[in-house]
Amino acid sequence: RRISLSKVVRGDYPNFWGPGHIGVPRFGHRLKDYHFHDHILQYAWIAAVPVALMGLYSLYIGPAELKDIPEGYEPRHWEYYRTPVQRYMHKWLYQSYEQAYERNLHILDLKYRKAESKKKYWIVSNHMQTNFRYKGWYYLIDRRIEDVLMFDELQKKHGMFREYFYGRPPMDRSNPTDRHM
């Protein structure tokens, strides 16, 4: 192996703590260089393999052509990308734009409903606390609703429902805005 002239003439000076002086020529260690180059190549191979594979895949399939969306056809979410690698990733690995959008809307809906319930609870609780000195009549659950629903169900099932135990006409449900109180 040839020894580089610059190292002999210039004196590739060693580190400060080594023996000798600045004019003494020092020769590098070949094995150290080869060891370092091996490490560099191993580091590069880690990335070179997938990049080469993706490149060959792209070369074989080719980039997509831009076209107008045909009538009555809804493209899949990976068909909005040009390169085959992008299409593969968006088809198999990533989630679509519409999916993320709807997911965000769902989360906002849950938060909105919870916040609305909390608001109403706070209003009622505040009212009860401010009017704690007033007569606190209690409220009973209106059991007539269940009876009405059962009546409707049985009417559907049997036709005319023979009122053995109730003996009263059905409720007037012509005005839907009245609350069952």
Binding site: G62, K67, Y80
Partner: protein, 176 residues
């Protein structure tokens, strides 16, 4: 300067030396470019394009429907506000690209008319600057994390300011 009416047309003659220099330089540069591009063009057109034509797909541009804007949303309606925000962001991106492409047109015009750009490219310059000003009027001076409400209220305040200017022209106060 911009004086395009009274230009004196002089006859000129290029020397033989200059002409040969142009030809040689042109052919040399084109030859160097061809040395690298001809093999690639040949391979692409004769070997790679037929191979890709069998497996290649089509791609499309996304189309979005118009959803209600922020002024049509009820208060505390999170879903409507989210969709209005997304629509606002998309519209802003579109306007940004419009301004960008007008600048590209101006630069291409300057590249084409090297020394005559001052006279022949003024229209492109005007288009770009006016669109840029309108963009800043509509989308500029916003906080970094802004929503559709900020944009909407900017429009509201601007319209109120214009109305006040029209009603009381003598009371116009110029800002510092």
């Amino acid at each position: 300067m911009g004086d395009g009416e009274n230009v004196v047309q002089k006859e000129f003659r290029v020397s033989l030396f200059e002409r040969t220099k142009d030809k040689v330089n042109g052919k040399l540069m084109l030859g160097i470019e061809a040395f690298f591009s001809k093999p690639a063009s040949y391979l692409k057109e004769n070997w790679i394009e037929p191979m890709q034509a069998k497996h290649r797909g089509n791609y499309y541009h996304r189309r979005f429907r118009r959803v209600p804007t922020i002024d049509e949303c009820l208060v505390d309606d999170q879903l409507c506000m989210y969709e209005a925000n997304e629509q606002m962001k998309r519209d802003k991106m579109v306007d940004k690209q419009i301004v960008k492409h007008l600048k590209i047109r101006f630069d291409e015009c300057r590249r084409k008319y090297q020394d005559g750009a001052q006279t022949r490219c003024y229209q492109t310059y005007e288009d770009w600057q006016n669109t840029r000003e309108d963009f800043l009027v509509k989308w500029g001076d916003m906080p970094p994390q802004h929503s559709a409400l900020d944009v909407y209220y900017k429009q509201v305040h601007r319209m109120i300011h214009e109305r006040r200017q029209r009603e009381n022209p003598e009371n116009n106060q110029k800002s510092v």
